[in-house]
Each structure stands twice: as structure tokens, then as C-alpha cells.
Amino acid sequence: MKIPFYPGCTLKTSAKNFETSAIASAKALDIELVELPRWNCCGTVFSLTTDDLIHHVAPVRNFIRVQEMNESGLVKDEYRMVVLCSMCYNTLKRANLRVKNNRDDLETINNLMYEENQRYEGKVDVVHLLSLLQNIGFDKIKEKVKKPIKSLKVSPYYGCMLLRPKEVGIDDAEDPTIQEDLLASLGAEVIDNPYKKVCCGSYQTVQDKRIVAKLAYDILTHAQERGAEVITTSCPLCAFNLDNRQKEVKEMHPGFKEIPVLYFTQLMAIALGLDKETCGFNLNYVNPESLLKSKNLI
């Protein structure tokens, strides 16, 4: 299967490990993630006022690229666009719904982009990788697992953008289980965390990292109290707030014990028996390698 793939800016730099582990894992499942040519920044976060149109131009431009990919033969009859970064996913999906439900606005946006070779017709579907995997079937993924991660206690974290608002949520907003189901198919021992859907503080990390550290402390310790050894996420911003900001968490709470925060695709890569290089652990702030080595996973 060849499917259009939208990486987003951060996956090209500080979250490169998310991209490499995802592409490699997908390949092992016979999914080729084909990067959009000439994609542009999605312009996260989704603009919420009724009259704003300019901030929906960036997502729509990317949808035109998907159309172009079909025309140039990079993909065949495939208008689904896979996204990994939760922030990008939310912005793109909401913008898509906005223009699909408001054809007048789509007309205005298309007219603004007159220098593009084509107009956005409204055919694209924004899909998160987890949803794609769910459609394929987690039992099929289980069949491909070479190294079940049974010794690892994993607590998945969702954050906001994957679940809310309901029209874009990949699962139930109050009690999602999609990540748990995936991790179970990889063989992990899944630890539930009541704070798995509580916001990490998002962009407040730029102006006030103290607030983020406070939220991160609650989110992480609730998982740790239940025995979690590692947290998984699907968002480079959540990863930054829960991983890099552990520095501030430790300053605020000297007794706090570090816990690695991984992208769910990094665990997928290990379970599917792929090379450690695809995981790019050097980009994780709290290094997970000693933990994973002790579990004989790498």
C-alpha cells in the first residue's frame, strides 16, 4: 500500500526519530508512507474564529499536493493522508472539515491560491497512523511482531489533539483504548493512566514552562504510581513537555524519578524486530536505552 504522508516541520528536526521509526515500522507492515512533495507547514493550531480564512490556506494547499500526487502517479487513487504529529493531525483534519462543510469558504480559499495548478476539490481524508493501523487490524500487526515487548510496562498518553473535539477524535474522548490495543498487540503490559487525556500545557511551554512542569508532574506520576516504566505519545509537543521539561519537574519536585517518553512508533519498531538505528533514541531527552537494554529489547 502506498499512501500520502504528511510529516510536519518538527518531524524533520527534533522529532526525526518519530519519522524514521514510523516509516520503518510501516514498511515492515507493507505500508509505504510517501511524503507529500512541496508540503508546507500546517500552521498549527487550528484557527477557531468564524471569519478567519487565511489560516486555513496552509492546510488546503497540502490537500492540493495530495491531489497532485495522484495525478503524477506517486500514489494511485489514494486520497487518504496519513499524519503522525497530533498537532498537525488536529489542525489539518479540522481545516478539512471546515472547508468541506463550507463550500463558499473553500471557493474563496481556492480563488486566493490562483497560482496553484489546481483547486482543492474536497476529496482528501486526513487519517492518523493509529487509525490506519486499527483499520488494518491490530491482530494482523501482532502476526508480524518478532520481539514482543512483554517485559515492558507501558502507559500510553493521548493528550488533547488526538481525541478532541469529537468530530476529529480517533477514539472516545473520555476513555480511548486505541493506543492500548496497539501496544497490547506488540506484547506490552499496558498500564492505564487516568491522566492520559489531560492536556500537557501545549504551547504555554513557550511563555511559562512552570505551568507545563506542573501538569507534566501530575501526568507522569499518576502513571508511575501505577507501575509504568515508559510513556508513549504521538505528539512532538507533548513529547517535549513530558520529556524535556522533566528537567523543570525535577527542580520543582526533587524526589521525582525520571521516566522515558517514547513515540509509539519507536516501540513498534522494536517489536517488529527493526534496527535500533530507526528509533533514533539519541533525540529522546530521558534516554530509554538502559531501560530497554535491561529488558533485553535492544
Binding site: 524533520k12 528536526t13 512541496r38 507547514c41 487565511i54 490556506v57 496552509a58 494547499r61
Partner: protein
């Protein structure tokens, strides 16, 4: 009354002299022989000018004298940015005055300068990472991919693409796409997010050149060593002491490239 009359005459005479002094000397064509004329509007005032002039020479023909906003006259320096509108259209277009022919009904203004922010940096002290771009130009994160900059570029560059490449940290793409930028500043003036595209590109090109293009070629290192050892000192001293006429003679009688024999390691 007589003194007042004299004053009026004098100011008319003065204006006539100014206008004549600014007129370009077009060799071989007399004004009476010009067949095709057009009317252009410079800052709202109409002038009849020969149809085959560029905006730059047409403005001079009309009697304006450029002391700023005019440079190489060859389309390379970016000094003569113009915003103009064609008759019957509503869109504001951009172009270099020295490279754009006039059209009848053209409505134009010169933009000789863009007062854009230009932070100073020492590349030896910076990381080769996207964070350095954000350090000096945080506004680049505000790009909404509207493509207004691309539409404004008189060089036809894909400006939005290179700004996006900068955000993604793809410095090679920025360097390649922005290579022909002449720093005219028109993109920055139109940008709704207040980004200075060309300065961002310049920072990235410098970083890419320093850190991204691989090791310094052997012949460059060799030549720098030779210079430091004083291999060219005698020749340079001799040259700098020559008079203008001697230099001109030396230049016009120089050996042409085709006369050189091809060598592996040229001196």
C-alpha cells in the same frame, strides 16, 4: 512688478535647466523621430514617454534624477524595485525598473529601500540548526503559506517554498531556491506575517555555505596558503602603484581566456 516677473521667469528657467540636465542622452535617436509614445503615471502624475524605454529610463526621461533607488541598471542589484499597476487591472505588480518596459497607462511608484530588520551574527558562534534561524528571525514561525511573497518576487523565485524549507530545517533547499535573490525587499513589504524572507535566506545560505557544503576544496586551501606565504605580494604591490592609464592599458592588452593553455593545476 518687474522684480516679480523676473522671479517667475527665473524659476521657469531653473526648472527647464533641471529637466534638461536629467534627460538621458540617447544616441542616434532624435526626439522628433520617436514614433511610439505612451503615457505613464509616476506617483500619480502623467508623463508622455517613448514606448521602448524601461521604467527606469522613462522616469529619467520625464525629468526625475535618481540619486537613490538606482544601481547597476542590469537587473542584479535589487535597488530599483517598482510597484505598478497596468491599465484596466486591479492587481499590484512588481518588477525591477531597469528590467521592465513601460506600457501605456502604467501607474507606478518606486520603492528604493526596505527598512527591514537585519540582526548581526557571528556564524562561528552559532549552531548549524533550525533553532538558529528562529533565534534571529522568530517571525518566520508565523508564515501562513499565503504565497504573497512568491507573487511579489520580480525574479520569479518560489519564495514561500524557501521560507517553508527554512522552517523545516532543509537548508540546502533554501540555498538553492533563494540563490537568485537580489534582495530588493518587495516580498518583505507585502508579507502579512512581517517576515523578511530575503534576510532569512541570506542567513541560511551563509550557514549552508559554511557548515553544509562539505570540506573546503584542496585548491582553495592551497591558494590561501600561497597568499599567506606572500606569493602574490610583489605583483599586488606593483599593480596598486600603477596609474589609471597604465591600468587601462594593462587591462585592454590582457591575455584572453581562450589564449591560455589548459592546465591541470592552473596558476
Amino acid at each position: 512688478m518687474k522684480a516679480e516677473q523676473n522671479r517667475v521667469l527665473n524659476s521657469q528657467e531653473i526648472m527647464r535647466r533641471i529637466s534638461t540636465a536629467s534627460k538621458p542622452i540617447v544616441s542616434g535617436v532624435e526626439e522628433k523621430d520617436v514614433e511610439h509614445w505612451v503615457t505613464i503615471y509616476i506617483m500619480g502624475k502623467g508623463y508622455k514617454v517613448p514606448a521602448d524605454l524601461t521604467i527606469l529610463t522613462a522616469i529619467e526621461y520625464a525629468g526625475y534624477k535618481f540619486i537613490r533607488g538606482c544601481g547597476c541598471r542590469q537587473g542584479f542589484c535589487g535597488a530599483c524595485g517598482t510597484i505598478y499597476r497596468k491599465k484596466g487591472e486591479y492587481k499590484l505588480r512588481t518588477g525591477m525598473a531597469c528590467q521592465t518596459r513601460v506600457e501605456d497607462g502604467m501607474y507606478l511608484v518606486q520603492i528604493p529601500f526596505t527598512p527591514a530588520v537585519k540582526p548581526s551574527y557571528d556564524l562561528n558562534k552559532e549552531e548549524y540548526a533550525v533553532s538558529t534561524v528562529f533565534k534571529y528571525y522568530p517571525e518566520v514561525a508565523r508564515c501562513v503559506s499565503c504565497n504573497t511573497c512568491t507573487k511579489a518576487c520580480p525574479q520569479g523565485l518560489q519564495v514561500m517554498d524557501y521560507v517553508q524549507a527554512a522552517i523545516k530545517g532543509d537548508f540546502k533547499a533554501v540555498a538553492e531556491e533563494s540563490f537568485d535573490c537580489i534582495q530588493c525587499g518587495l516580498c518583505a513589504l507585502r508579507c502579512p506575517s512581517e517576515i523578511v524572507q530575503y534576510n532569512v535566506a541570506q542567513l541560511v545560505r551563509r550557514m549552508y555555505g559554511k557548515f553544509g557544503t562539505g570540506p573546503v576544496p584542496a585548491y582553495v586551501t592551497k591558494r590561501i596558503k600561497e597568499i599567506a606565504e606572500g606569493k602574490f605580494k610583489e605583483d599586488m604591490d606593483r599593480l596598486t602603484k600603477l596609474s589609471k592609464q597604465e591600468l587601462e592599458k594593462l587591462y585592454s592588452e590582457r591575455k584572453r581566456e581562450s589564449e591560455y593553455k589548459e592546465t591541470k593545476d592552473s596558476d
